[in-house]
Every structure is written in C-alpha cells, then in structure tokens.
Amino acid sequence: MSNIILDISKIDMQFPTPDGPFTALKDVSLKIEEGEFVSLIGHSGCGKSTVLNIVAGLYQATLGGVALEGKEVNEPGPERAVVFQNHSLLPWLTAYQNVELAVDQVFSHANGNYKSKEETKEWIEYNLKLVHMDHAMHKRPDEISGGMKQRVGIARALAMQPKVLLMDEPFGALDALTRAHMQDSLMEIQNELNNTVIMITHDVDEAVLLSDRIVMMTNGPAATIGEILDINLERPRERLALASDIEYNRLRSEVLRFLYEKQRKVDHITKEEKISTKTSASVDGKVENNEAA
C-alpha cells in the first residue's frame, strides 16, 4: 500500500424510483494504487457502471465518498477521463477534432499547462498514433468502424492525461477478433504510459489478461465487493503463451467460480431481467465456449 491514488470509501448508492429508493450499492470500499490496472467484473445490473460513474463524478454517492490524491471528488473532470461503452464521439467532428476538443479544453493558460498550436497538433497526433489511428485522423465517426471509433475514444481520454482512466466496457460492443486487437493495443499503451486504470468488463479472459487486480462484485440490489483477486502474471503478457499457463488458468477459473458458483443468479427471470439478458448472454456464451475448449 505505497501510494494510493484513488480511495473509494464506504459508498452507498440509492436511486429514487417510483416505489421508493432503490439501493444499488452498499458499502463499497476500494483503494487503488498509482499505475494499477483494476478490472471490475460482475453480473449484469449489479452496479459496476454505478461505481464507475461515481468515481467519474457523473453520479453523487448517497453515502461515503471518493478521494483522488487525498482530495474529495464530487464533480466530473478531465483528470478522471472516461471511455464510454459506445464511443460517444461527437458525430459531426473528425477523429482529430474530437481529440482536439478535449486537448483544447484541458491544456490552457488557466490550467497552467498551455500548449502552443504546434505542440497541440503534435500531442493530438501522438495520441492518435498511440491507438493506431493516425491513418484515419481526418475521418468522421460514421466513416470508421466500431473498433476504430473506440480507439479514438481511448485516444481522446489519454490525451487528457488523466490521473485515473475509467473505462466502461470499452470493448463490449466489438466482435471477438477486434476485441483481441484492442486488448493488445491497450496492453502496449499501458506498457508505455503505465496509467492508473479502472475497467469494467464482462469478459473473464479480458479481465485476467489485462489486470493487476480483479474486483468481483456481488449481485444487486445492495451490491458490494465480493472478492478481490491479485493477478501476478508477468508483463508483458502474451495471449497465446498464457493460454497454456497454469497460473493463468487457475486465476480464470477462480473468477468463473465466483461468478457462477458463489454469485450465481438464482432468482427467477423477471421482466426487468429479460431486458438485460442480452448482455448477460454474452457472459454465459463465453462460459460455454471456455468449457468446451
């Protein structure tokens, strides 16, 4: 516990609903070290996004709070950049302009880190290069693929030089092959920048491959952190080599056991859950694949 950058302490979250308050989170506490890559995993609807949005400042916790470098956060800000699940690029701007909007806002005289015109351009291009998007910088979101959009979204977040990078299922909407590419890219970037990252995922392999720690959440309502798994696999990690690695497979089955034995969804499928089966199916489908393999 050397240098804690982010301290989530005793968070409760209640949403007001027509039939009284709904407790989504109960007593969630987590300390994250600088340069750490933490994955949040849990069944659909347990409250992962809620945790992330509270850290981002987009939601206000009902009880408890979040401190970044000892200072309490209660509004959104670029030092906690977010990569949203569905890219959320501004559709009327090119990839370059999307990053530029962020850079212009974050680097200014007022913030004491002003960049000149050339420096700004260089910095935008550097970040787009980092995510391998330098060839399509001047294309608009509707002219590039889903994976490329997500890359630009990551470049935009990285260009803000965040203290903590928050990612809500960044690759959830991508096909398996593209997702693997993106994971490799992300590891490569992590290798270079060593950012502090919180990432939500539904994908067990993705969590084990990328993380230093996996935070597993119990089912809601009143969800909390169930277990935390340290991933001490050596870096750089190689997806193919890991496939036959004993430690890797042990960690993976650990996560699977948590999700499908300890936190198995036993309750009957209600109307609400039928809506969310689309996302949970991807978890289930994944498991079947893994067991078959």
Partner: protein, 332 residues
Amino acid sequence: MSITASSSESTTITATMIKKIAKLFNSLSHQLLMPIVGILVFLIFWTATAQNIDTSLGKFPNPANVFQQFSSLYQEHVDERVKAEAFYERQEIRNSDRLAKDPNYPVKVRQYTGKETILDQIVTSLITVACGFITAAIIAIPLGIVLGLSKPINNALNPIIQIFKPVSPLAWLPLVTMVVSAVYVSPEPMIAKSFLNSMITVTLCCLWPMVINTSVGVVTMDQDLVNVSRVLRLPALKHVQKIVIPASIPMIFTGMRLSLGIAWMVLIAAEMLAQSPGLGKFVWDEFQNGSSESLSRIMAAVIIIGFIGFLLDRGMLQLQRFFSWDKSVILR
C-alpha cells in the same frame, strides 16, 4: 468466318446498347415520364371540370387561359418598366432644362408610382417572408435551446406555446395592425406599416415549429455527449456552442423547414387581409376587380404561389443537407 465473327460482335454490342438504352429509358420513365403523365392527366381533368363551372365572371379558367395569362402578366410587367423608364427620362430632361435656365433651381426627383406588376409583388412577398422568417428564427432557436436545456423553464412556457401554436394568422392580424399603428408612429416611416403588419404576423405564426423542434432536438440529444462535455468541464457557453447546437442541428433544420412552409402560407393570407403589397394583395385586387380575366389571373397567381413555395422548401432542404452531419437520415 471473319464476317460472322464481326457480325456477332456487333450484335452483342447492339444488344448491350439496347440494354443500356432500356435501362436509361426505365430510369427516365420513373424520374420524368410518370410526373409528366401525372401532370397531363391533371390538366385534362382540369379542362374537363373547368368547362362545367360557371361563375358570375364567366367560365372557370382552363389551363390554356391560365397559360395565356402568364405571358400577358409578363407583358404588363415589361410595359410598366418601359413606362417607368420613360417617366424618369422625361423628368431628367425637364430637370436639366430648368437647371439650364436657372442654375439655382432645386432639383426634385420624384418616384414613379405606377401599378405594381406581378414580378414586383413576388419580390415584395419574398422580402416580407424572408424578414418574418429570419426574425422568427432569431427568436425561436435560442428560445428553443433554453427550453431544451432547462426543464423548469420548459414547464413554465410549454402551456403558452401549446396554446399559441394553433392560432390562425387571421386572428393575429387585427391585433398586430392595431399595435403597430399605436406603437410605430413616425411622420415619415422608413418601413411601411402594412409591411410590418404582414411581417409580424408571419413571425408570430412560424415561431412555434422552430421553438418546439429545437427544444426537442436539445432534449433528445445523446446523454453520452452531455457526459463527455461534463467530463471535459466545458463552460456553459462552450457546451452550448460545441455540443448542444451541433447535436440539435438536424432538428433545428426540420423546424425551420416546417416554419418556412407555414410562413409562406400565412404570408399570402396576411397580405390579402392587411392590404399590404405582395402576391396576396395581387389576388385580392383581382378578386375585387372582377373582370372576365380575373379568375385566370388569380389561377396564374395560385400556380406561382405554389411554385415559389415548392422552391423555398427545396432550398431549405438543400441547406439542411449541407449543414446536417447526420447523413444517414433520408431527407425528402
């Protein structure tokens, strides 16, 4: 041998050519032929019906009568211009004569006050509608953005908007007229009161679709984009400028197109009633005139009004196509 080869070659060439021509013909028939057929059928129907309608001003005009009126209306315009030129020429000669006799003579230049031709009326109408519409847009779009951004303000103003929206221009006009003549008192008015009356009426009627569509565009904008703006901590003004306005541009233009259509319709009615110059007044004057030609002249004006309305809509559509980032929406 070679002959057969070349001939078979030429047959394939002709075959492909025939195919191409057939294809071209096919697309032409869809794009051109069917509209032409439609128009022809309409003209026949019109001619047949017109014969059977007797009015106090004679038979209802048929297409041929109306077509004739187009050329005579144009001829009147040309004649009028010739007269005007002659008037100015005479005036200049007179003035220079007087100046020659008496160098201290104060030169008077009088405006030619002839009859306004249909082309003059068209220009007046277009200017009026443009002024009314632009005034409305300047008020409506910012108001729509404010309503879209602030729920309390929206809740406060929505009932008022919903009540004023369906009001006919004819109901507004007397009020506007009275208010204008009470408020706008100047011995030598720069802008004619009748122009103001019809312009303000147009503004009042085409305000609402723009307000409503703009606010809907702002409200329905992607919440993720708002979150991006929040994470970037964009100041309020920049948020509106960089996120809100571009995001709602498609809806803003939808509102503008609706409004322009309404503006044009309202204008004609307002001009008729307010006796302000323009196409509406032309129609009214012809109606009052009651000559044997009146009906066909009115019918010609109807066609002109429709055609200009169509062109305005197309123009707006082109603008929308140009400005809208959302190219996936089929605009028609």
